[in-house]
Symmetry: C4
Subunit: 203 residues, 4 copies
């Protein structure tokens, strides 16, 4: 089982999970007597769902990017690594369901805890993945700069910390809980820039 | 992150978005007492939806072709380019929803404005993409003929102009608004032929 | 636009169209008071749908095989060829809808005419595709054995003839109309064997 | 038809079948008057469905891994092998339907017999596939270690035996019938380890 095959399945699963998100936006079909005002009401009632759609799409994209960045250094696989990846994909596929949950039950803390736990589990699995592959140089090439390993770990911690924060805040205010996730792309970009600067200074 | 990986995700997302369009055609299941005439009524009532299906499929195909033509010249990527692509895919995935909107609410200008805006945003993003990649030869190889860069920009302007036109006309006549999009493939072909002729004359 | 990219999109669209077929089998969810006998009734009432599912899956597989066999000899592409492929994919994506039609309206000749026309159009497009690519050796390598070109045309004629036959029979008996399609794999195998024998004799 | 093309279609079909499983988890949309307790009830009522989701995802992953391990040794294809693969994919696509059946009709032995038969057919087809490819070294390279051939057969027998067992137990207790499938990953891992040890001892 080469890393190439795992990446092909991974790309497929991500592409489909991203696309299924759109099914959550479905409106009831207009049959008769619908006025212009009704459609405005219907669409503006979907504002939260559009935000959730964009949020989940971006979070999936971040996981996809990080997964490929990590895979880039992984040169061989074993059964443990393969199964970590499959369990990771299992929770990726769950994202459209979690997203529909915070869309349909937007005022329920429990829905937001479910969504947050999905992100938390994904962040944890991706970190374990990296930890396993890089520990004792188990599956990676030997000359990976330790700062790349460390920068990738830091970015993993961002996802985990933010999702724990979002789960906690869900019990106080479900709206803020949603917006908190925007910290993930922002903080990851900060870490990435710092790491690049440090690598550049070295040359 | 190589362009190869982005293209694999892009192909997947396009293939699924194109296929999800067909879910908009779903008919109610016949249970009992349905006569021959009923099915004719049902199917002919779908004529608009079949047209919308074909239109969206063709527009998606045009975006797919243009995306790949542009990617062909892009030899490296950076984070900004990667995220432009991801936002582009986010609005590609929205097309089945926009299409269902103009199918279910075919007499509502607002639905057509929504669909037109989706096409407009896609056209704009693809143009920014090309602008960013080719500006100062940022991500492309250095010997790309300036006429190829310019022809691609012109074709991008077609999509943007036609979708603005269609949004405007939606307030006057929703049917014509739909047919206007057929200008996109026609005008793009005209520009492509001219550009090829000019390149051929040069040799 | 290389043939490689077209094949990637084609594989994606076929994989999804094949998988969407299964959505036609969906049963109503049991909530309360369902007896053992009810599930037997429900499942046996689906027998036709299981047959339709298998039939459409096999027809899609045949189109996929033929598409790839033809692509194998095509070494360059042009805009006309690209768009023939896209229109072909547009009718491939329609197959899950056509299949749901003959499942939900199994006694209606019109439903079977719709399904048959879908197959007929696909067969015709694939034949035009081959005709265009091989005519004057337009897009193929020059040393393709004329018997391969001719065998592929014959197999194309099988699909067209059988689907016209099935459309005609649909007005007399909708069940027989369905079974007629089984002639496609059988006749194609006969032609393939003959062609291989003829090629082998030659060596 | 190269093995490469078959693998591309296979990866696509597996990725989509795995992702469609999540549609079975869909909850009714909350409209009004839903209390906190209601969502807890709804979600905890889904516990079985979450288990089924995870189980089917893992079984699909196992089939995917075994399919690729077998394909790894297959160096050429013929029509019989190609069609065995297509029929195999046809039953892979059926898994989301079978899973929805044991989710919606969890107390019905018949539903579990249907699911078990699906797994049994898949196990049998994959074994025939391997038998056909390796018999008289028909499609594989000549120097495959006989212990690899035999270990792969043993793992195939595990799937077949366990699914027959699960079908039998379904008539006694539908819950146990579900858990029995967990034996498949466990026993396959045992066989894999033994086989690896035997191969290692040999060196």
């Amino acid at each position: 089982m080469t890393t190439h095959r795992i990446e092909a399945l991974t790309d497929g699963v991500f592409a489909i999970a991203m696309t299924l998100l759109v099914l959550n936006l479905a409106l009831p079909e207009a049959r008769l007597g619908l006025t212009h005002a009704d459609l405005i009401t219907l669409l503006s009632g979907q504002t939260d769902k559009f935000f959730n759609y964009a949020l989940s799409f971006i979070l999936l994209a971040i996981f996809w990017i990080r997964h490929h960045q990590q895979s880039h250094y992984v040169k061989k696989t074993d059964m443990a690594y393969l199964w970590m990846n499959i369990i990771f994909l299992m929770f990726i596929v769950l994202i459209p369901f979690s997203t529909s949950l915070i869309g349909d039950y937007s005022n329920e803390p429990l829905a937001h805890v479910f969504f947050g736990s999905n992100i938390l589990i994904l962040g944890t699995l991706l970190m374990l993945n990296w930890h396993y592959a890089t520990g004792h140089n188990r599956l990676i090439v030997h000359d990976v700069d330790p700062r790349i390993v460390s920068s990738s770990r830091k970015r993993g911690l961002v996802t985990i910390t933010v999702s724990i924060l979002a789960i906690g805040i869900a019990f106080l205010n479900t709206d803020i809980s949603n917006y908190i996730y925007l910290l993930i792309p922002i903080l990851q970009e900060v870490i990435r820039r710092r790491s690049r600067k440090s690598l550049a200074n070295d040359l």
